[in-house]
Symmetry: C2
């Protein structure tokens, strides 16, 4: 099996200013195509240290991915270190210079002298095109090992990795074509999903199905490998179909989609509107929904009725009802959703009430207890949930569960 | 100058599941006491690879900080690797075993046989107490270099670093006592603050003042070094006073405080209440405020009046006013805050309206334009802001600016 090592370059990674999310991203992508990362080195802006890291990484792995240090300033030294490692000199690439000059001309900007260094790459190395910024990447093959240097800016790095590195890796790992599809699931734990999928998740299968989890969202990576791309694509599609059949409504989306995006698309497509009445989540559901560009097409009203008085004055919930069942109850959640919808005549409304903690829990109503209601013309559903892992996690999981309930309503 | 190298251990760091925030945290803490991190190695759960990383780190630096791999399961191998690096054996520590057994007894849990391994440390090494979990840390001094191994769980790692590692580092860096104080600022850019502070921020000063920035929040680290702790503390306090005098209300808090926490404390202490009326931020201000435990003491009502109809129906804003000035205008922001406060009789109210983008901007009212009003008995202030860097950043910066305006009102 081929292995990768990652080298991250930049003082900002060693002084606490920047969290190294590039390594996490690349690790996940590489694992998904079956080329695991075995080591990762982070060093500052120093030519000798970078060359040393190149040597360590090449000793560890077949493929070395370097990020950072390709900018135009004096402390961007990856270019020089790459040449030093190869034992060659930097050479001006006329084509790169043209491209750089055009980049600035198009934007009506003057190109600084400093930027010219970005038109140089080590003799014998190849250019990796950067369609988003000024820093081209560099690629070289040394004794059967592949070294790629990409900029540290995440958006540029990700695009160049997808456009230029992934295809190279497929060539490098033999005659194989690899197709990866991601399915995003919500509503069941990792172990339940693994159980439902059975043998599909076993190691060594083709397509291989890997599973990662983040804040209750489960991502299935379907990795199909074959001699040619078409066959691999067909295999991945077939496996996706099988998994979708098995998991049914647990699958909510593909690629990098979040729940709010999927719910938003459905609302927009169906021409429906939504209002949200939140207590314990304090605006989290509205915040997730309105984080999506164009949310104003379907999101119109939201209330954060944090106090009992607010529930009564803004949503007309009878004080008697709150007194009888408590503010955290099925009845109040339901009244929040129904009254909100009635008041502003949206197609859907969500009501949430619960105890986010750390205080306020009792034996009957512990911290983490949340009631979530979704109301529409088809009636009102209420779910009783018990979340854990602290205030933030309770609020976020409650909000996501609400969005998921709405999604299922919109699946009709 | 002393240097540090960090070794992070765990397969989860190399398969994309976990972002390595421990290294970022430690780098920032170490920089703040003047012991910069020069390299960072991440490897999987493999004894030989860990020993190799120990050797690399010891070659790079005077202090080596290792995190992860101290749990009770078979893939937790830092203990064994540490012994291997030292060329010694693991030895049972009777005291550690007692402590472990007590840990489980107190929680009415049965201790698994697996946990016993956590009572072993390499011969010749010292135990670092863990008051939050079962994994003790390990410390050893080799040829004048200090090696610390801490658990990977961030909460445990941070506490043990503060309680046990920092004091050791102070001993190790000579006869010096180091006192660090952090000041958190909002309302001006990094360069403005540096300009205001003048020489205080220059390298080589004592106290040293370092500056880090995250989402508009500027953290000043005041690092005072002296022969004895009392003198260092006095120096840090004196410098803090000078900086506070210079920056005035730009300083909003200390240590790890966020704006919502400081605002919440002030509201609670003064017995005041707050309501929030949001358009473009869509619940972000309410979300930040209610993220703080105990927010129900002062936060009562929130509205997300995303549509014009919602602004009229929920907050009684005249349709004429919206038509005349536009939904994104000083007049509407002001009406949102004033009407919200009048409606529910809170002491303060915030109104926010703007264009978060990516669409909806015009030449007169571009994407990023946000009006923020804060209303109280002392009148209504409105601020016109122009934020950038995309929808999320615009929304978050607008929300933080609103909290900061509220903070300044509460300073009276």
């Amino acid at each position: 099996m081929k292995k990768t090592s990652i080298v991250s370059i930049g003082n900002e990674l060693l002084n606490g200013q920047t969290v190294n999310t590039n390594t996490t991203y690349l690790s996940s992508e590489l694992l998904s195509i079956g080329i695991p990362v075995v080591s990762s080195y982070t060093i500052g802006d120093d030519v000798d240290a970078i060359i040393r890291a190149f040597n360590l990484a090449v000793a560890d792995a077949d493929i070395v991915l370097v990020t950072g240090g390709l900018g135009p300033t004096d402390d961007d030294l990856t270019r020089q270190a790459f040449a030093g490692y190869l034992g060659t000199e930097l050479q001006l690439q006329a084509e790169l210079l043209d491209r750089l000059e055009n980049f600035f001309k198009k934007r009506n900007l003057r190109m600084s002298e400093k930027n010219k260094i970005q038109a140089y790459i080590p003799a014998g190395a190849k250019v990796i095109a950067n369609n988003l910024g000024t820093a081209p990447g560099i690629m070289a093959e040394v004794k059967g090992k592949l070294i790629f240097a990409l900029p540290g800016v995440p958006s540029e790095m990700k695009r160049m990795f997808a456009e230029s590195v992934l295809p190279e890796l497929q060539r490098f790992t033999g005659e194989q074509a690899v197709v990866v599809r991601k399915l995003r699931c919500f509503g069941a734990g990792e172990s339940t999903i693994a159980e439902l999928l059975g043998d599909a998740c076993k190691r060594g299968r083709n397509p291989l199905v890997n599973c990662t989890v983040e804040y209750g969202i489960i991502t299935l990576h379907i990795i199909a490998t074959s001699r040619d791309k078409d066959t691999a694509r067909q295999m991945a599609e077939k496996k996706e179909k099988t998994i979708r059949n098995t998991l049914g409504e647990l699958v909510y989306g593909t690629a990098e989609q979040c729940l709010a995006e999927v719910v938003g698309e459905k609302l927009a497509r169906q021409g429906k509107t939504i209002a949200v009445a939140e207590s314990c989540t304090g605006g989290t559901v509205a915040g997730l929904l309105t984080d999506i560009p164009g949310a104003s097409k379907y999101f119109t009203h939201g209330w954060i009725t944090y106090s009992n008085a607010a529930k009564t004055s803004e949503l007309g919930i009878a004080a008697d009802l709150i007194e009888k069942y408590g503010a955290v109850s099925e009845q109040v959640a339901q009244a929040m959703a129904c009254n909100a919808r009635k008041k502003v005549r949206t197609d859907f409304a969500i009501g949430i009430t619960g105890i986010a903690g750390p205080d306020g829990g009792t034996e009957q109503k512990p911290v983490g207890l949340v009631y979530i209601s979704v109301d529409s013309d088809n009636g009102c559903d209420t779910k009783r949930c018990l979340f854990s892992h602290g205030r933030r996690s309770i609020r976020l999981r409650a909000a996501q569960t609400a969005l998921n309930m709405l999604r299922l309503r919109l699946n009709i």
